[in-house]
């Protein structure tokens, strides 16, 4: 291949740098503003690094609005959904990939077809159902509807499908039961897929908004996205506090992403190529 000219290289990198700046600047500005005192927030040109950094915005957030509670709620809800979903989806994915039983293909295609149904369509009946069972404004109401995921089952089925049957047959010959095969043979071989659905499910349930907005009716059941949206309404003029709130919602997932980005990217590439 012939070498691209210097000008090409400069143009290419300039475009990439511009795109990267456009993505990164909102984050930099959010974090920097969250450490600013009110008098420094409206200074122009904007100061990217506060001259007199302060943690008052964070202090106010936790003392005057009790931001700790929604943080705890979000951790509980996101971890529960993720744990239950990963366990149940990998079990179902294994059965759909390796078991032979009547109606399996029909059931699986039916479930796949439901992936086209927007969440807003099921939201109203689930809301009424939970209301009837007194589960509005409870952890169960926040968690249960998010556990079963056709997408996760599909991904696990595709991945487990590539494990050779002979491995399972051999274990059967040695007298292993289904539980042993699943936990000791299948799961260890599916670590990449498990990691992918774990981080996708966690990110999704951490960021979920519309459902918690409907289901959480008192402040003590708010999740972080709901709490931060209420904050924007109540403290409309307190920019520093809003940015501190946004930072707290965004940063945990961002840090997780930085450590596990290989799995995010492989997961997306996988769904794109198999889709």
């Amino acid at each position: 291949m012939k070498k691209p000219s210097l000008i090409t290289e400069i143009v290419v990198h300039a475009i990439l740098i511009l795109m990267a700046l456009a993505t990164i600047i909102p984050f930099v500005w959010m974090i920097s503003t969250s450490f600013k005192a009110p008098d420094e927030i409206y200074v122009f040109p904007p100061r990217w690094i506060p001259q007199h950094p302060t943690v008052n915005n964070y202090k106010n957030l936790f003392l005057s609005t009790n931001f700790g509670r929604p943080f705890l709620n979000t951790v509980i809800v996101a971890l529960s959904i993720t744990f239950l979903s990963v366990v149940l989806s990998s079990m179902a994915g294994y059965a759909f990939a390796k078991f032979r039983f009547k109606g399996k293909d029909n059931l699986f295609f039916f479930l796949l077809a439901t992936m086209m149904v927007p969440g807003q369509m099921t939201m109203i009946p689930i809301f009424l159902m939970l209301k009837q069972f007194g589960m509005l404004n409870t952890y169960a109401g926040l968690i249960l509807p998010g556990v079963a995921s056709v997408f996760n089952i599909f991904l696990m089925r595709q991945f487990i499908g590539s494990i050779p049957d002979e491995l399972i047959e051999a274990a059967k010959m040695d007298g292993a039961n289904e539980a042993f095969i699943f936990f000791r043979i299948i799961l260890p071989l599916t670590t990449p897929a498990l990691t992918t659905i774990t981080i996708f499910t966690f990110t999704g349930s951490w960021n979920a908004f519309l459902w918690p907005l409907i289901i959480a009716q008192s402040e003590d059941m708010y999740t972080l996205p709901v709490a931060v949206s209420v904050l924007a309404g109540q403290y409309g003029e307190n920019l520093g506090m809003q940015m501190a709130g946004s930072t707290i919602v965004i940063i945990p997932v961002l840090i997780m992403f930085l450590f596990l980005q290989r799995y995010f990217i492989e997961g997306i590439a996988f769904t794109g190529l198999k889709g």
């Binding site: 795109m19 086209m116 927007p118 369509m121 099921t122 109203i124 556990v147 960021n207």
Partner: protein, 290 residues
């Protein structure tokens, strides 16, 4: 292998039961509810809801706000989809070049918005769009351009929302396209080079056709996602000014959970579902014809 029923039930039972309760049954209940006048009075006593035939749909087709919401949602889709694809493709092609430096850094930064909470980053963008103190107008000011009152002007409110929507979606799609590009066998390019093809020719005659499955997948995901536009207008504008950013889902939320007209809201949900199915099928049909 043939499985016995006990292990089948143990392995798929929990998922299937949950999916029946929280996915399949609600789909049919929602369909049924769209033919009832289920409202705030029926909330306490379901028997007060009456079957009203197609009344909700008739009302919906005469509801100016619904048409407005539908128009706004399509406006977002029609602009945001090609812009997202264009930018994502540009990013992916540049990242796929052999001589591009700092690939890991660019990839990571492009991807950040995708894992970012929409509600929280919308609050940040509300201030970026602020006409007096916002970064965007300050930046435009550096070039002597006086920026508009982004979120306050009915003409500019939807474009502002589209900017945020695209900003959030480009990275994810760039990663999809990059995976698609890396899947194209390099001998195709080598053969084309032997025939003296230019970069542009290679892009048009090899890259684009070979990327088609990825493009179809990305388009489908975007159609489904953009038609469900909600969080950005909810946070940035609340649907205003003058309903210029009212989206279908925002209208559904308002009717359902502000006015508790759950029957009417269900009919909006049914229309949304039909639109998603219709557009997805149209997109797939187009790709077959190409």
């Amino acid at each position: 292998m043939k499985a016995n029923w006990i292990s089948v039930l143990t392995f798929i039972g929990p998922s299937v039961v949950l999916l029946m309760i929280f996915l399949v049954a609600p789909i049919f209940i929602s369909l049924f509810m769209s033919f009832t006048n289920f409202n705030v009075y029926a909330m306490t006593d379901w028997s007060r809801a009456k079957f009203v035939g197609f009344d909700n749909f008739v009302e919906l087709f005469q509801d100016e706000l619904f048409w407005k919401a539908l128009w706004n949602t399509f406006y977002c889709l029609i602009i945001a989809l090609p812009v997202t694809v264009g930018l994502a493709l540009l990013g992916a092609v540049l990242l796929n070049r052999e001589t591009t430096k700092f690939k890991a850094f660019f990839k990571t930064s492009f991807f950040l918005p995708f894992v970012t909470n929409t509600v929280a980053i919308s609050i940040v963008w509300t201030w970026i769009f602020n006409p007096n103190y916002g970064l965007l107008n300050w930046f435009l000011g550096l070039f002597g351009i006086e920026g508009p009152n982004w979120l306050g002007d009915p003409k500019w409110a939807m474009p502002s929302i589209i900017i945020l929507v695209v900003w959030k979606a480009v990275g994810y799609n760039a990663i999809l396209f990059l995976a698609g590009l890396q899947n194209i066998p390099s001998y195709l390019y080598e053969a084309a080079e032997l025939d003296g093809a230019s970069s542009v020719q290679k892009f048009l005659h090899i890259t684009l056709p070979m990327l088609r499955p990825t493009t179809v997948f990305a388009n489908t995901m975007m159609i489904i996602g953009y038609l469900q536009l909600f969080e950005e207008p909810y946070m940035l504008t609340g649907g205003g000014p003058l309903n210029s950013t009212l989206s279908v889902v925002l209208y559904l939320y308002r009717q359902g959970f502000k006015f508790f007209r759950l029957g009417y809201a269900s009919s909006i949900a049914v229309i949304l579902f039909l639109l998603i199915v219709l557009l997805t099928l149209v997109r797939l049909r187009l790709s077959k014809e190409e």
